[in-house]
Symmetry: C2
Subunit: 174 residues, 2 copies
């Protein structure tokens, strides 16, 4: 019996790779390479960032809390790692990686069979200080959704001029 | 040979039903009924709104432009219609409807075999004035993306308190 909160997070976390795959795979590069301007991320960059999170952020940090509690701070997360790790990879390859990495991570998470009391265990974020397992899982979930939001925003804004007078009705264009 | 701009719109328009289906079907109601507060829309309400758009907005307006040009303004669009039309329907039913309505509309759009010159034909929006076929198609596309954005934003914000100190790093929570 898994904690209900964990099940709620899992219901979103399991869906994200397929959601992004459905939205992005085989889409013309005009969409997947679009950005909001210099220094901002394209859908392609976002998928690489999510992959780095699967490798270096969520499950490794959960493992640190379960093993060391507050005594060992998390390793800092590299927000630029995808520019190195995605190099030379196609978007379909990155989407396949995301599906596979996420599947493995969620299998490991389920295998931990976390109990409600364990959700309150604390770790140490290098910048934010004390955080709980529950907050880590909630952030993993919200982070997925925030990047689905980002991808759809970047794509919508590509048509800021194309929509003409309708821009007035589309708050994303403002 | 379809206009390249139309193909670019179609690449997004064809994917939206499956994207929302993947994100939302069988998700706990805590997610799909969540809102951003009184008077704001849940993911469930958004899907109903998209269905009304398939019935009353995009293709009917395109037909009006092709048949009447600027002489006949579009019928006004009812932004609240889904509260009536979705009544008693489950989210899976609404998602099935969206898939079916969109498939039919895009089949009809492709069958029109619009040529580049036709994209510049003008109609009359009841509030915004003159708009082109190209702007209508761009808006249909951006409107899909804006509602994927909205659904993911509504869901992410459900965890505003759950993420604890991480809220600082998630601009969607601000």
């Amino acid at each position: 019996m898994t904690a209900p909160f964990l099940e709620e997070c899992l219901s979103v976390l399991t869906r994200t790779p397929a959601t992004l795959d459905t939205l992005l795979r085989d889409l013309p590069e005009a969409w997947t390479a679009a950005t909001e301007g210099p220094g901002t991320w394209s859908p392609y960059v976002v998928v690489g960032h999510l992959n780095h999170g699967e490798r270096a952020d969520w499950m490794p940090r959960l493992a640190i809390i379960l093993e060391h509690g507050r005594s060992r701070p998390f390793d800092p997360f590299d927000r630029e790692a995808q520019f190195r790790e995605s190099d030379g990879k196609s978007l379909p390859t990155l989407l396949d990686e995301f599906t596979s990495l996420r599947r493995d991570n969620l299998a490991r998470l389920r295998a931990l069979n976390l109990q409600p009391a364990q959700l309150e265990l604390k770790g140490t974020h290098p910048d934010l200080g004390p955080v709980t397992v529950r907050q880590l899982l909630a952030t993993w979930t919200a982070h997925d959704l925030a990047h689905i939001l980002q991808v759809s925003r970047v794509m919508a804004k590509r048509y800021k001029r194309e929509v003409g007078p309708w821009a007035e009705y589309l708050s994303v264009m403002k």
